[in-house]
Symmetry: D2
Subunit: 306 residues, 4 copies
């Protein structure tokens, strides 16, 4: 018999000549917010999948891969056991959740401009936030992250930028520039670290990733690119850790395993010493592209994904 | 204006609920051989792409990634500078080409049952074989690889298995079993090494990879899984090196860079010491799946991909 | 900006080498009933669309085309102004609704085996049934139509068969046979007429349509095929009127317009004298295929759509 | 086994929320001419298919339907047995071929601006032109049809406009206007007739068809819309006959059958008296849309399909 898994499909063009597709089991919720189109679908392979403006952000099955990769390299590259964290973006709350797993964390702030997305994720993605929004150490703010950083005098041991791509007319255009990264750096404690998701690292599509990397090198003394494969994206994904002191590329497997044991008390599902080596030892051709990139992204010349 | 890049597409289902697709620029050649359906298309992103029975085997743009990953970990894990190599399968000749890059190689044999595919690749994929079939050190045979291994008394420093998936009625079903791997091991020199491509390592689809791994552990003292991302497959891909002596997981980055310099004289595009660390430091959840697998594939109970 | 209309699609293969697709605006409801998979989606072009086992049955925008074409040729070919009607199948209630538009109708029975589908249509497709189920003249039964016809002694002026395709293991296999049509004929009044939907009339795919037509000719003195284009199906669609007396091919445009005025008091959106000529003047190549068909479908050799 | 018929597909969006797709058996030829992108593919269901700028123009299997529908209603509405015909556009030569089937035809001119398309069709679509270009009565010209009509003083009994859609930057924009149709009318003999293809007649997409119809009513005393279903387009298709005298809607089935016998001597595959009734008895809702349309297309305000 024909089943619903064979006739409804979600298409995500990775470029205009390549795409990835998922059967749709059901649509959990769909909304047009003030800032973007938001949808949660359920797929047979990945469970619930969060989609913003037609782009998969995260999935239930790979939540642990994406969010561990986004958070722990920075938390473990903080010079001291981190006491405070800031999430810029981070809609579904899983980034916040990973920060709160550290017992030393006393305060975790999440600034996501789109309160409607956050509310819908609270309601429909409990598997992802797992109560993070209700943790007494967490604070959620719905405002422009740049304005927030300009006004606050607070300093954080860890900041992570988990934003949608800077689509034209999208909410994230001025959050990928040298000026913004300078602001982030200045809100870190002296031994602090930041991480961000930095776009796909698929062959032939490295410009976004390498431009972000080049831009961060204008601002931070240590900039360490790394890569993780997110199956539901259909492409490997780039991340970057930038710090004021610690270089994650110099943390060997044993050091990472020891830090996880000390700082977290319990093991992770994806990240450990060996995964750390996997991620930070970026393949040669990507290193070459990173070295060759000269573009610095600025407010005057922002990156726009079309 | 509507362009041809927007209306002709190649679909490759990675599972029955997920797929990857490429715009088709043109079809270079298409044939039904005695053993399989073969086609070469040109895509905007990857140039020429070889497709057997609907599955992408390799692409011009990622030739260097796939074939370097398939060949060099084994050539560098051979105890001595390799003097002989054997390719089982390897249709388009790029695997043979990579072996011939070692000046110490005196003899390289390729056994691919499908002579029609090899002839068409010779004609239409010169970018890939680059004359490897005409190298005086190389010999190409079109016969069943298992029969060949049973009859020959030759020993090789390096053997690689570069086969299509064992589709039902396909030509490769009995080339993924303990009995076959035992035959391969017995045709290696005492310090020899083998590699093989071992299927996707996408989340939730690890059974093929881990079963092959488990099976090899019945036969070889050293079995080292590794992983590489092939963009045009839309999924990360697993490989395995199995040796009688050297463990590639114990070769550090400097050792690999030194071996490449010594044995090859010139650098590679994808593989080096850091890429080696990237590949052999398999992410934690894949290691866990590998450890948990108990299935040993035998002639009596072969693996069939449906 | 990427919109939801560009990334979620419903695919309906018309054959295994051709298909039609619709953007999905939202999913209204989805259920697996005892008999089939049922879903209502909303599309930008057609509004709500009812899908059973992956096949579009009807859409809000083309409701008037499909259901007028299914009902009125038979109601107007009944020798007398029809007083009773029977719908076999007819899930969403629009067929019943069209029968009830005739003031002379005193009783309209609908027998659809799948009560769950009917209940969900009642709730989610009020635009289609428009209260037909609550009309005091209507009766809805959920049982096997063949058993019902065998047991009842009632006679109807009009019977229509609005069934899903006879998929293997589907609920409709024995409702497309000579034996079943004989039963239908025997439940008609002496001047009664029946209609049925008879599958696509796309070039090269006429076997279903012509076999049903040939089978009916074993049973009825008058068998008149006709054709309508349902845009959302992506193919023209075949219907057949079979009667004991009146031949709709001999009703000219003026006669049909007069009958509509007399029997219905108000005009229709799709059907009138000219549409009647359009539909019953089947193109030459389809007439030729109809004449050439020799297959009579029987209980012993039923039609199965695969 | 996976077959090539399951993995290469041609997609034709009928609108931006609906599409039709065909498996691709092979690509016969592909070229970018001075005016448009041209491709001939072979599909399992329809044989060779001609595609211009991503739009299916005609297929081998339905050649007889499309080209008989385009030519004969006009040839049979010419007051006298036609002695001369003009094809505007008509790339693959099948339109020309249908005109040449009339023994009374002494001269048939085809003006298609794109000589490269015509040459490739001559070579790769002999099934369609069947030697029409070599008929001593035919003349083929490659120039702008409007300029040709302005310069010539010749008169034709039949003119047909078989053009691609007026895509932006495409070659056909000023060939769908009142001014152009006036020129066409003035080049017809006093009893002459013209036909044209006038776009899809799918529900909700009638604007193109009805605007052309409305425009022609400014120019011709008789304007008769008709409709044919072309399966490979996935939508019904509109045509219009416009004449100075004869109204095809008043030609009954017997008259058409008699004219075919007299003027052609042999029967056609698609068109006959009954098909004529089918085609010219346009369904009610399309008639209503045609009546409601007020737009007259002019050089100053041309129709552009986007």
């Amino acid at each position: 018999m024909i089943t619903p898994q064979s006739y409804k499909w979600f298409f995500e063009p990775t470029t205009n000549v390549e795409g990835h597709m998922h059967a749709i089991k059901r649509t959990v919720v769909e909304a047009q917010t003030k800032f973007q189109h938001m949808e949660i679908i359920e797929t047979p392979a990945y469970g619930k999948v969060l989609i913003l403006d037609g782009r998969i952000q995260s999935s239930q099955a790979e939540d642990f891969i994406y969010h561990e990769a986004l958070v722990h390299p920075g938390m473990l590259a903080s010079e001291r056991a981190p006491e405070s964290g800031l999430v810029i973006g981070g809609g579904e709350g899983a980034t916040l959740r990973e920060i709160l797993r550290y017992p030393t964390i006393k305060r975790a702030v999440m600034v996501d401009i789109d309160g409607e997305v956050v509310e819908l994720c609270k309601k429909y993605l409990p598997e992802m936030h797992q109560g993070a929004f209700d943790d007494p150490r967490s604070e959620t703010r719905h405002e422009d992250a740049r304005g927030y950083l300009e006004r606050t005098s607070e300093r954080f041991d860890f900041i992570t930028i988990d934003l949608v791509e800077p689509l034209e007319e999208g909410p994230a255009c001025l959050l990928f520039t040298r000026e913004f990264y300078t602001l982030v750096r200045d809100r870190l404690t002296p031994g602090g670290a930041m991480t961000l998701q930095a776009g796909m690292t698929k062959l032939g599509e490295l410009d976004f990733f390498t431009s972000i990397h080049r831009t961060l090198r204008e601002v931070f003394p240590v900039v360490a690119p790394y890569q993780t494969f997110i199956s539901c994206f259909g492409t490997p994904w780039g991340f970057i850790t930038a710090t004021k002191k610690v270089d994650p590329r110099k943390q060997d497997a044993a050091a990472i395993d020891r830090l996880i044991a000390e700082r977290m008390k319990s093991p992770l599902g994806y990240w450990d010493g060996q995964t750390h080596q996997h991620a930070f030892n970026v393949p040669k051709h990507i290193r070459a592209a990173t070295e060759a990139q000269t573009r610095v992204v600025t407010d005057a010349h922002p990156l726009i994904v079309t």
